[in-house]
């Protein structure tokens, strides 16, 4: 997929390359963003902004990094920027954690109590650790790819994920 997209870019078929990225990655990027911002409408906005940035960045994309990790990186940054800007306008100490407390009332949440509690536990993690946990736990991304998304060493990512798992397990097991 990366090679195909690069070929299109090198042939100055930028729009075709963009459409291929939309087709290949829009769903994955949506779910990644959704797990960070939690609300469907917010996720939709962030995904729109993500793909606008991808489109604008394509002419300068040299292929040194993988399109997949490059797209994920843009989506992650957009989601975190969104959460930070929302934080300035609300009274929640952490926006995601605040939303997670009302998860079961959300029309687009069909999980049970345990799954709702898991989402609250994840939302209680620091931003970057939340990203690391989601990428590893739900997207099953390799540490090598993850290091390109969050610009952190593989060793640090492994440690961060390990601690996240411990924190979440402790959170889930308390009454």
């Amino acid at each position: 997929m990366h090679a195909e997209i690069l070929n299109l870019l090198q042939s100055n078929k930028t729009e075709a390359a963009f459409n291929l990225i939309v087709k290949s990655y829009s769903q994955k990027l949506y779910w990644h963003v959704r797990r960070l911002v939690l609300d469907h409408d917010d996720a939709d906005d962030v995904v729109q902004n993500t793909f606008i940035k991808i489109w604008k960045g394509l002419p300068n994309f040299r292929g040194e990094s993988n399109v997949y990790t490059w797209s994920y990186r843009i989506a992650t940054n957009e989601a975190l920027s969104f959460l930070r800007s929302k934080k300035e306008n609300t009274h929640f100490d952490d926006v995601a954690y605040g939303i997670s407390q009302n998860m079961e009332a959300d029309a687009f949440f069909e999980g049970d109590e345990a799954q709702a509690k898991l989402q609250s536990a994840i939302a209680s993690l620091p931003e970057k650790q939340r990203v690391v946990f989601n990428l590893r736990y739900f997207d099953e991304m390799s540490y090598a790819e993850m290091s390109l998304v969050v610009d952190t060493s593989e060793g640090a990512l492994k440690a961060s994920y390990h601690h996240a798992v411990k924190k979440i397990e402790a959170y889930l097991q308390k009454d």
Partner: protein, 141 residues
């Protein structure tokens, strides 16, 4: 006793609990494909033009040369004439005797030749002994 939780191997917890409206992803892809028309690419040309790059380089070199040329050298040494001129204009706290002390014979003769009547008068009035010694020296040559 509560079973310890094995988060990483719990398939139920790994299931995605979130949903989307019906047909959302179809509409999402269609909407995203309009982005190129809604956000046309703007090409930035300056500094990509070869001539502009060459001109910028030449202008930088010219500026560097001008700054280097105008900058005073650190090894500049004042000549004796400079010292005398500075002293005459009151820029140095030296007396004429101080100047005479540092002049060698050749410079002393030049200094004497260029000394005006006013300066001679000044010497006669401030350091008459010096003037007398000078004339005595002349007589002995």
């Amino acid at each position: 006793m509560k079973q310890p939780l094995d988060l990483e191997n719990d398939k139920h917890l790994k299931k995605n609990p979130y949903t989307v409206p019906d047909g959302y992803f179809t509409h999402l892809a269609e909407g995203l494909k309009n982005i190129p028309q809604e956000h046309p690419q703007t090409k930035v040309r300056f500094l990509h033009n070869r001539y502009v790059r060459v001109f910028a380089f030449a202008a930088t070199m010219a500026l560097a040369f001008t700054i280097g040329w105008l900058r005073p050298t650190e090894n500049e040494v004042l000549t004796n004439e400079d010292i005398i001129a500075l002293n005459e204009n009151g820029y140095l706290p030296y007396t004429e005797l101080d100047i005479l002390m540092v002049l060698d014979d050749h410079d002393f003769e030049e200094f004497s030749e260029t000394t005006t009547e006013a300066n001679t008068d000044y010497l006669e009035s401030t350091q008459p002994d010096l003037v007398e010694d000078y004339y005595l020296t002349l007589e002995n040559i």
